[in-house]
């Protein structure tokens, strides 16, 4: 582990820019902390913190100059690795047939600054979806291969975070090139830096730093323990998959459906939702055509449409699909749950629906049922 | 008719009936045969018997003026044809035509109705079996109604 002074952080940015990376990092925009192109540490949300709850997001000013004293905003890194819309190819008519021109993929490699541990897991999950199975998604692969990741551990999780229950945070354990943790005290402002790869090692050579002492390591451990203690939302994940598979007809689904607007916000902000709609279009003359794709959501009415009609026409069925997929079926499909505990779906739901709350309600009602049955049978003996 | 006894007893429809009831039913039974194209009964006629088909094929038809005669069901070996003899006012609701040479056992419905009134146990056994047939036909009819193979825009 190393220590880098706050004043030297810009040299990390400069080192990356010199090597041709396009920096993407958190910055204040439209009253939220979004991920956008940045060049300097001054672009970061210095002195800002966020206040999040179900259906609520606010930015508040801090009394200090902390640069990473917030959790996650509405953006996730899928915006850059799995863009909202891309074109696959264009085609032109040619006699009785047509010629296809594939889209060239060229962009400067990304350097993601400030990737939270929950989002690191989200990127790993997307890696499995897009590069870990029979077919490889060329667009994802080309953006992901050269991406440089500077992770940042969370000191101030939001009230909607539950990464510790999903075993994804608040501390990053791998999947990054460099990982920073902010140490802000009255008399010094510095970062611990963990190296996670050869690339990270190489970049670090350009940054003035010193080796961490035992005291630094102790400060780091205390900070992480405090961060973990700040997390208030908990989910009992034991047998979560089996529980949801057994409860397709639980009355709570209808209860949720009475509040859910099926607005699809949750799928837009979720860092692992990857569903897309493929579109084939043509010009008016019918001489040129193209195939593209854009983000889609299982909450839309026509997501499950086949000739004759949609299969999931009720909000109940669509919410159930989303939550069961995220927490249960995903495990069978990809080996882990699809949820990283980032809490975005809770914050950005206009109806304030909290899936951890809903899951707990279902678990408790099942426990109550079991207790009642036990009482009944024991009462009869 | 002693010779019909084993044939009827073997038939899945009458399986499980005790000897006494079987004899009562056999007492109302006779062998019949229909040539290909022969009408077995027409809609509106008195329904005084039902048939246990031993071989061949029978088409149940409805006559719809503009469309002509439409076949809505076909019955074959082992099927029971006709339950209108059980339902007042005891008239046929469809046409039935043998589409190929058909052999069947005809049971005198009028005679059986009387026997069922006298012996309610026999009546119950027969009704149990007929309600099962009606249930199967109803389920099949409903599936046909869905027009599953049609396009549903």
């Amino acid at each position: 582990m190393f220590i880098v002074e706050r004043e030297q952080l810009q040299s990390l940015f400069d080192a990356l820019i010199r090597r041709g990376y396009a920096l993407i990092g958190p910055t204040v925009r439209d009253s939220a902390i979004a991920y956008d192109e940045i060049k300097s540490v001054d672009d970061l949300p210095v002195g800002w913190t966020d206040e999040q709850d179900a259906g609520r997001y606010r930015l508040n000013r801090r009394s200090d100059q902390a640069m990473f004293a917030y959790a996650v905003g509405p953006h996730s890194w899928k915006r850059y690795l799995h863009p909202p819309s891309i074109r696959f190819w264009q085609a032109k008519r040619n006699g009785r047939g047509f010629n296809i021109h594939e889209e060239e993929r060229k962009n400067s490699p990304f350097a993601f600054i400030g990737v939270r541990p929950c989002d690191l897991r989200a990127i790993e999950i997307l890696d499995t979806v897009f590069t870990g199975r029979e077919f490889v998604d060329a667009s994802y692969e080309s953006r992901r291969r050269d991406a440089f990741i500077v992770a940042v551990n969370c000191i101030y999780p939001a009230s909607t975070c539950f990464c510790s229950s999903m075993l994804t945070g608040p501390r990053a354990t791998g999947g990054f090139d460099l990982c920073l943790t902010e140490i802000l005290e009255p008399d010094h402002h510095q970062f611990t830096v963990e190296v996670g790869s050869q690339r990270g090692e190489e970049i670090l050579q350009d940054i003035p730093r010193r080796t961490a002492t035992e005291e630094d390591a102790e400060t780091f451990r205390l900070l992480m323990a405090e961060a973990e203690a700040r997390i208030r939302r908990r989910v009992h994940t034991k047998d979560m998959k089996e529980f949801l598979y057994k409860n397709y007809e639980h009355p709570q689904w209808q209860e949720i459906a009475n509040r859910c607007l099926s607005c699809a916000n949750c799928t837009m902000v979720c860092p692992t939702c990857f569903c897309t709609a493929v579109e084939d279009t043509t010009d008016l003359m019918g001489n040129e055509a193209e195939r593209s794709r854009r983000w889609d959501s299982c909450f839309t009415m026509d997501f499950s449409y086949i000739h004759g009609g949609g299969i999931r026409s009720s909000t109940r069925a669509r919410y159930r699909q989303w939550m069961t997929h995220k927490l249960a079926s995903w495990v069978d499909q990809f080996g882990t749950p699809g949820c990283t505990g980032c809490g975005r779906c809770i914050t950005w739901c206009p109806a304030g629906i909290d899936l951890t709350e809903e899951f707990r309600t279902m678990q408790e009602s099942e426990n109550n049922k079991l207790i009642c049955e036990e009482v009944k049978t024991n009462g009869n003996t | 008719m002693e010779t019909l006894d084993p044939i009827l007893a073997e038939h899945p429809f009458l399986r499980g009936l005790d000897q006494r009831h079987l004899r009562l039913i056999v007492g109302c039974a006779s062998n019949v045969r229909f040539d290909a194209g022969q009408t077995i009964f027409k809609e509106g006629e008195e329904a005084n018997q039902f048939y246990v088909i031993r071989s061949g094929k029978v088409a149940l038809q409805i006559y719809a003026a503009e469309r002509g005669s439409i076949t809505v069901d076909t019955l074959g070996e082992g099927d029971i044809l006709g339950w209108s003899w059980l339902i007042p006012p005891y008239n046929w609701h469809f046409d039935a035509e043998a589409t190929e040479l058909t052999r069947a056992i005809a049971l005198d419905g009028k005679c059986l109705r009387k026997k069922c009134e006298e012996d309610h146990d026999l009546g119950y056994e027969l009704l149990k079996r007929f309600s099962n047939i009606i249930h199967q036909r109803l389920e099949a009819t409903r599936l046909q109604l869905l027009d599953l193979y049609g396009t549903h825009a």
């Binding site: 897009f130 084939d280 889609d296 | 088409a59 049609g150």
Partner: protein, 291 residues
């Protein structure tokens, strides 16, 4: 400090983008019924042929209109040409209907899990199709009949709307004329000119001869029809692990990336479209997961 996740890719996996179709030329268009037609396609020049297993499908692209999944309906033993039977129900399939000889269309595939024709050796085979469902079953019929000695009793049951909607009528009659196949056809209703069966296809099952303890059943048709047919077979004593159905879902990419074809935890393009009934039994029963 753990090493960063390395994204590993083999060269040939990235070489051809699987979202780009190959161009096939139409060599023959044959109208089967009022709204159904069969396209015979020739692979691009230099291609050895087209190999597939019965039950698989391709994503077919009509230039400028769109792309849809269509089951392959030809003979798996003949790889020279590619055959698809298509029902014109939407804008893309109607566009296929308008194609002429030598026109091109885009083909991606084959995708999907096939009918269990290889695992069914030594068993009785019961194939049950409803409506257009006979098309994805036809390759299985071809395979079974060209390896007839490998199987026990073979029966083909088919239900259509009316006699005019019967698919592959001539072939059905040819198969019926064979002594080693039992073929029963039924329609939902007919004029009196039709002298054969009328009624739902499930009614044909009691009349069919097979050993339920040693049978593989393959069913394809509207989901309601498959549901009732499965019930009838279970009643007859066939194990749910020996009954196979072909499921259809909204499919857009065929590669597992767009998420549309999910059926519970299963992906239709990869884990299906052919499933053994015991695998999907639980999902089949839940409304709005099943149709």
């Amino acid at each position: 400090m753990e090493p960063m996740l390395e994204v590993e890719l083999s060269e040939d996996r990235v070489a051809v983008d699987p979202m780009v179709p190959s161009l096939f030329a139409v060599t023959r268009i044959h109208r089967e019924t009022r709204d159904t037609f069969t396209l015979t396609l020739e692979p691009p020049e230099g291609n050895g042929g087209f190999n597939f297993t019965p039950g698989q499908f391709n994503m077919l692209y009509a230039f400028g209109v769109g792309e849809v999944p269509i089951s392959i309906s030809g003979d798996p033993g003949d790889g020279r040409l590619l055959t698809h039977t298509i029902r014109a129900v939407g804008s893309v399939t109607k566009a296929f209907c308008g194609l002429k000889k030598s026109d091109s269309l885009g083909v991606r595939g084959p995708f999907g899990c096939p009918w269990p024709v290889h695992q069914a050796g030594g068993k009785d085979i019961v194939i049950i199709g409803g409506g257009i469902g006979l098309a994805p079953l036809r390759p299985a019929v071809y395979h079974v009949l060209s390896h007839r000695e490998k199987y026990g009793k073979v029966a083909l049951l088919y239900g259509a709307r009316t006699p005019n909607d019967i698919l592959y009528l001539r072939e059905l009659e040819q198969w019926r004329a064979r002594f080693d196949v039992e073929v029963h056809i039924t329609v939902d209703h007919a004029t009196t000119a039709w002298r054969s069966n009328v009624g739902v296809v499930t009614r044909l099952i009691p009349r069919t001869s097979f050993d339920p303890s040693n049978t593989i059943a393959m069913i394809c048709g509207p989901e309601v029809m498959m549901r009732f047919t499965v019930q009838e077979l279970l009643k007859r004593g066939v194990e749910s692990s020996d009954i196979y159905v072909s499921m259809e879902r909204n499919m857009k990419c065929g590669l597992g990336f767009c998420g549309h074809c999910q059926y519970g935890p299963l992906f239709i393009w990869k884990d299906g479209p052919v499933f053994s009934f015991d695998r999907i039994r639980a999902l089949f029963a839940v409304r709005e997961i099943r149709r």
